[in-house]
């Protein structure tokens, strides 16, 4: 096993800079907030800019399948920047989860090239809270001939998806299907979600025609792989969220005065921020390790993912909670963006397995079993 590379390469820093520039121009907090209050928080123009102009939709898809031929390390950097802006785009659903599934299940399928080019937006129809180790979902059944019926709740990025990848119990066991969002019998109902910038939807299927992509063992393995990769990369989004919260709070406390002093000169506050910074340093190392190990397909990937999720999920929440608290009254307002980050952080903590779930997974992976009985 070669030593992990935990730093950022020059290419990754260039990619970060271009994503950041685009987001600075087109995704200021005021715009994100305004959108959340409208009919749909998604910003299709921003998504097009990222997916097509910058080409991040298929970043880690090999060139032979129509992608940019980079690696999951680069995709992780994009997620850091999207997290830093709580950007309302379907990157997680389409470029991470659905792309991950297609890559693992059927890379030759022309669908992958379309998704990688940003020409079609897809998502993976599982509840966002699904953990990588959960069993194959059984809420959708496929009849012989590929008509799907059932219901999947709390699906991320389903509102904008033109296509859904649906795990279903078929006549011959588990299988994966592609379903057109416009197909007759398909319903996508928006839920009121805790996270305003990543809305969830319930998907109902009533004898919807589906195209089978994979079945049996390969389907089960592909789903697990996609969820594992998603969980590992989500750590980078959580890092981005935490970094914004920390740096915004530091800047605020440098300026804000009470008791004839700048608040940042009070040691009780300084120590809280120093501790938060320390945990963010750890989160960066853990998120980089997960991305690097996933990119290399290393044998330690499952440990790396569980580790990153166990640490980064809770850290992002703490950073967002401190951000609200240390901004005082203004932190409690709708107008200040802190709440967008708190909501994203809390929802991300539940997404793809909670920290507690991932710690329990580690117990098995690193041989620290619990008491019997």
């Amino acid at each position: 096993m070669s030593a992990p590379d935990l730093l950022y390469s020059e290419i990754e820093e260039e990619l970060r800079a271009s994503v950041r520039d685009l987001l600075t121009d087109r995704c200021p907090p005021s715009a994100v907030l305004a959108r959340c209050e409208g009919p749909s928080p998604y910003d299709p123009a921003l998504w097009r800019g990222l997916a097509v102009e910058l080409g991040v939709a298929g970043l880690h898809v090999p060139e032979e399948y129509g992608g940019a031929g980079a690696s999951l390390r680069e995709t992780a950097v994009v997620l850091e920047e999207l997290g830093r802006r709580v950007a309302p785009v379907p990157f997680l659903g389409s470029a991470v989860l659905a792309t991950g599934l297609l890559l693992a299940a059927c890379p030759q399928d022309p669908l992958l090239a379309e998704v990688a080019a940003g020409a079609r937006t897809v998502t993976l129809a599982v509840p966002l809270s699904t953990a990588p180790g959960a069993g194959f979902p059984g809420t959708v059944r496929a009849a012989a001939g590929g008509r799907l019926s059932g219901r999947v709740t709390s699906v991320a990025d389903a509102l904008t998806a033109e296509l859904l990848l649906v795990p279903a119990e078929g006549p011959d066991g588990p299988a994966l299907y592609a379903v057109e969002a416009s197909a007759a019998g398909l319903g996508v109902a928006r839920r009121t979600s805790l996270d305003l910038t990543r809305p969830l939807a319930d998907v109902t299927l009533n004898e919807v025609p589906g195209r089978r992509l994979a079945e049996g063992g390969p389907a089960v393995r592909a789903l697990r792989q996609a969820l594992t990769t998603g969980a590992g990369l989500l750590a980078s989004e959580q890092l981005g969220v935490a970094e914004w919260c920390l740096s915004t709070t530091v800047e605020y406390l440098k300026e804000r005065r009470q008791f004839a002093r700048r608040l940042g000169s009070f040691q009780a506050l300084k120590h809280r921020l120093a501790d938060l910074w320390l945990e963010t340093v750890g989160a960066r190392a853990a998120a980089r390790y997960a991305a690097d190990t996933l990119a290399a397909g290393g044998p330690d990937a499952e440990v790396a993912v569980a580790l990153a999720q166990a640490h980064c999920g809770a850290l992002a929440v703490r950073a967002a909670e401190e951000c609200v608290q240390l901004h005082g009254g203004i932190g409690m307002t709708w107008e200040h963006p802190a709440h967008l980050y708190l909501k994203r952080a809390k929802a991300d903590q539940l997404a793809l397995g909670t920290p507690g779930h991932h710690r329990a997974a580690l117990a098995g992976l690193v041989d620290l079993p619990g008491p019997v009985g």
Binding site: A274, H311, A363
Partner: protein, 391 residues
């Protein structure tokens, strides 16, 4: 560079077969071959190579069965005195001190803290007064680790009490065999005496043993303190290499001790330990490509917290056995031994991790002010002459 290093290692081993060579002779030859600390300059135990290549040299020599210089026994020399000598020492000082320091022939200690100056180190009161071609030093130091085995000390003393506290300090190398130096063991809560009180009475220090300019000791001391933090927190380790490995081993071997509550705490601590290890690894990778980050203080803070959490957990896990202690005999150890002793010792000794080398509170201040750029505490004593400070 890598190939050249391998070739040098090969030649050293060919000329000095570790099996047949006296330990000290081997270490001296290694130093002279530039393979002691490869990032030091040629002639001073190094080759001016990237620091990251040291691991390669160490691994090859270890594989060949070569003796090491027992780095834990001489940690203060290696971690603190050497980088300071390198940066501020004269050519003669470097030539005189670095080789026996590295081979372990001469142990070093650090005469910084005083009864009245710990966290506020710049408030120190030990006086150095010019006398003949050197200085006469009087004062008292405390908490001095390894003073009882040390041949030399790095010492800071006040040379101008009329200046504000940071400005009137000078940095010296002190000879621990000078008749004015008296070392008294100071027993600590583990029962043993790893550190000491040191009384300095009319100690004679030649001016050639001064490091840096007169009155510039505080800047010199910064080099020592920064290196101390990296030295304490920054060693490369495999997974479960530190205290977490000890606790995990007990957990695996003793299923009858497990409880659900301890399982949760153990998993949390395991995650924290592995995250801290990776963060340390990231710090080393940054240093290796020449982007030194401020994570040095952070690593020491993280390791102190972890060592305390884990060692406390271990005592609880052991239940009735945790009520016992291995040995209260007053001893004078040469090193801190976290692995050779029992859980109770580890628990007690780990309490020092958040005090020695700068307390965790002081490190948080450093992170908040120097890394995050938060405003400094109001400092009323900043421009006041040292002799007028309230004490």
């Amino acid at each position: 560079m890598e190939a050249e290093l391998r070739e040098r290692v090969r030649r050293l081993l060919a000329d000095h077969d570790p099996a047949g060579t006296d330990r000290l002779d081997f270490l001296r030859a290694r130093f002279d071959a530039g393979l002691a600390w490869v990032h030091f300059p040629p002639g001073l135990g190094g080759l001016g190579a990237p620091r990251a290549l040291q691991a390669l040299v160490d691994a090859e020599l270890e594989a060949a069965g070569a003796p090491d210089n027992d780095p834990r026994r001489i940690g203060i020399g290696l971690g603190m005195a050497a980088p300071t000598l390198l940066r501020y020492g004269t050519e003669e000082q470097k030539q005189r001190f670095l080789r026996p320091l590295w081979t372990g022939e001469e142990v070093w200690c650090q005469l910084f803290s005083e009864p009245g100056a710990g966290s506020d180190l710049a408030a120190l009161a030990t006086r150095a007064v010019p006398e003949g071609d050197g200085w006469r030093v009087d004062g008292q130091k405390v908490w001095t680790s390894t003073a009882h085995t040390a041949r030399w000390a790095i010492l800071i003393a006040r040379t101008d009490p009329d200046l504000p506290k940071h400005r009137g300090i000078t940095y010296f190398v002190c000879d621990m065999t000078d008749p004015g130096v008296e070392v008294r063991p100071l027993r600590q809560l583990t029962g043993e005496a790893e550190f000491n009180e040191v009384f300095l009475t009319g100690v004679r220090i030649p001016d050639t043993h001064r490091l840096g300019g007169v009155g510039e000791g505080w800047q010199v001391a910064q080099t020592t303190l920064n290196n101390e933090r990296v030295a304490i927190g920054g060693q490369a380790m495999p997974r479960e290499g530190g205290m977490v490995g000890v606790v995990a081993a007990t957990w695996r071997e003793r299923p009858e001790l497990r409880t659900h509550e301890l399982h949760q705490r153990l998993l949390k601590a395991w995650v924290d330990a592995e995250v801290a290890r990776l963060a340390g690894e990231r710090l080393r990778q940054q240093l290796a490509v020449g982007q030194p980050g401020p994570e040095g203080a952070a690593m020491k803070l993280a390791f102190a917290r972890l060592a305390q959490e884990l060692s406390g957990l271990e005592v609880e896990l052991l239940g009735e056995e945790g009520l016992a202690y291995d040995d209260w005999t007053m001893r004078r150890p040469e090193t801190v031994d976290f692995n050779g002793r029992q859980a109770g010792y580890r628990y007690l000794r780990a309490k020092g991790n958040s005090i020695e080398g700068g307390t965790s509170e002081i490190l948080r201040n450093i992170i908040a002010e120097r890394v995050l750029g938060l405003p400094a505490e109001p400092r009323t004593d900043k421009d006041m002459p040292w002799k007028e400070l309230p004490r």
